[in-house]
Amino acid sequence: MKKKILGLSLAVVLSITAVLTGCGGQSASNQAPSNSSASAASTAGKAEEPVTIKFAYWASAGGESDAFDALAKKFQDENPNIKLTMQGGEFKDFYTKLETRIAGNDVPDAIRIQFQQVGRYSSNGVLKDITKDLPSDFSSDFLPSLWSAVNYKGATYAIPQHTDTLALYYNKNYFEKLGITAPTKLEDAWTWDQFLDIAKQLKEKAGAKYGFAYNWTKGNSYRWLPLLYQKGGQLLSDDLSTSKIDSPEALEALKLSKRFFDEGLVPAGTSVKGTEDINTLFTNGTVGMIINGNWLATNFDKNMTNYTYGVTYMPRDKAAASDMGGNALSVMNKAKNPEQALQFIEFMTSQESMTYFVENGIFLPARNSITPEKLKYAINQPDIMKVFMEQSTTVPANMAQSVTSPNMSKITALLSDELDMLFTQGKDPAEVQKALKDGIDAALK
């Protein structure tokens, strides 16, 4: 009897340990390094106690991270009465961390946030409504699509910090071999048929193993959406209440992207769930072209040693369209010092700070007043940034609103599953379309 009880309890303990080390360990190990308590302790006891604000963000190493540090230092020097605590880290699991902190009531004062997530976090009351705290003409200088992305139901919840977009990087050496010149004007951008033909030539004649790669790998399925809008389709209805994915245009877009894989123009490992390092495939010449974002220019400058690259516009169809990437800064609803937090995010998005930030992080500015001529990007071919800037004007308004709607993360997860089935499992495009329609409508309920 005793042995039985012992065995039973041992079994309980073992299985509990198993479940928890698996599920719990993940988030625990990724906790943000919190210096807040230490810094608070060091400032305590002084005569004039500064107000502490905590800023949670992510930054990749290099220019982006350095720019954050430099701007933080500047803010700190200008505002000695505010003690700024920078809580940085990697992008991976940023939201998991954030939500865990919210659930545990350890809320930062300000955060960095993707445009795609603004809707979700405004609708559930995490972000502070700052409409009344901003000057009435504050929005006039920001790009309209980005400003609409930080607004939810008529109220403003964030300030755009920068934007990113996708364009087409190509291998110049391969193009020279084939005698192809890339379009230099947005109006002249290739159609998908022209583009796929070039992809085929790269594979057959230029020495590339595959035509191209698209950066929707590792679950970034929302980057498929430009194809949908280029065909003239749209993801959600204009009031964002129902899915519009059941259109003939959407079916066209699904069929088009399936062709990439069926015809072997892209490596199989670059499907939506793929884990291949697509940037390496481009820098080592395995693929002749890559649809990817402006922020990769430094990577390619450094790693593409055997070839040179150029940048041209995304292929188009009925319309031109590209991805709306980029981030905004928000004050949290439960911020302890919302006033100072707002002061900080206004500082970070000022014309001067934004210029510094985009130049160093190789991003695109979110303000109209920062024109291409004013920017000095520290990359080998600064001119390519003009292509990205022009391309960013093609972000469709409906797409900007759709991707920032509160349920976008659910839709992205669904898109990842279904597109991967389409690309790798030979699922019928019409069936994929039906699954998407049903799934998105369910997510919107």
């Binding site: 042995k3 065995g7 041992l10 928890l20 080390t21 919210i102 559930n124 199989a268 884990t275």
Partner: protein
């Protein structure tokens, strides 16, 4: 005089009864905070609709009803069983072979033991990335070698047939060393007298293994089987970094699916229900193992 000595013994006995609890107290406290309480919380949350932010809404057993008809979850369960069945016997067998080999007197024994154990200590995410680099279709070392010897390129991580075996291969690499070390401990616990006696009776190596080593390692084998099955059901990191659960759902396992529901889709309640199902499976398996061990 006799009485007092009995009394003395009693107090020592009482003190000894109390002392062990004191020693395990810090551990139990942590265990309670980070294990017991969260698991009770998970059980509670599995009956709610919750998105981590906001208040959970009670919705009865509907998460469980949905889970049972969720084809992706069922597929993930089958994949998990496949993964576990493939990794447990292989890692145990290789671990045992390694342990027997390294239990002999041979040069560099210590160094070799260390080398075989190293993969166990490396972070699983790093391991996943290393294997991703080895097995990548287009820039992987393995395909480069296969191409050179004329076998040709294989779609290790990008075909339905090979994605799971690829992760299994990486798992074997990680787990062999662990099994080897535990088996080494077991082997060293077997008295040499048995072998000497068997030799006098004329037993060969195979007979010695069959009638002495293997039976006497039984409790070690049971322990390793239980631990490895649990490990198999908990598989996540390698899948996450090597295949992303794809292509399609060919390498989506339970923990990965639960993770996706919790942190990508944002359905905490539903994910908790998945966690509870996983808990129950591991609980029952562990129970069966221990019962089987008792009966022998």
């Amino acid at each position: 005089m006799q009485l007092s000595s009995v009394k003395k013994n009693n107090t020592r006995l009482n003190r000894n009864k109390f002392l062990p609890y004191l020693f395990i107290a810090p551990n139990m406290l942590l265990f309670l905070t980070f294990m017991i309480i969260p698991i009770i919380f998970t059980f509670t949350m599995s009956f709610t609709k919750w998105t981590l932010i906001g208040t959970p809404e009670f919705n009865g057993i509907s998460n469980y009803v949905k889970l049972l008809s969720d084809k992706q979850f069922l597929a993930a369960m089958l994949n998990t069983v496949y993964y576990t069945l493939a990794t447990v016997p292989t890692t145990l067998a290789l671990g045992l072979i390694g342990a027997i080999a390294l239990n002999r007197n041979m040069p560099l024994r210590g160094a070799l033991r260390g080398i075989f154990y190293i993969p166990t200590v490396v972070s699983l995410v790093a391991t996943g990335l290393i294997w991703q680099w080895i097995l990548s279709t287009d820039y992987g070392v393995l395909n480069y070698v296969l191409e050179a010897v004329g076998i040709g390129e294989q779609q290790w991580l990008t075909s339905n047939a090979l994605s799971m075996p690829s992760v299994i291969l990486a798992t074997i690499w990680v787990r062999c060393g662990y099994c080897m070390v535990i088996y080494l401990g077991g082997l060293q616990g077997i008295s040499q007298d048995y072998y000497e006696a068997a030799e006098i009776d004329g037993a060969g190596d195979m007979k010695k293994f069959k009638y002495i080593t293997w039976p006497l390692l039984r409790s070690t084998t049971v322990f390793l089987t239980v631990m490895s099955i649990i490990y198999g059901f908990m598989g996540f990191d390698l899948f996450y970094t090597m295949t992303g659960g794809g292509p399609g759902f060919s390498s989506t396992v339970m923990v990965h699916y639960i993770y996706k529901q919790a942190f990508q889709v944002g359905e905490m309640g539903y994910a908790s229900a998945g966690g509870v199902v996983l808990f129950l499976i591991i609980f029952i398996l562990t129970l069966l193992q221990m019962k089987g061990d008792d009966q022998q």
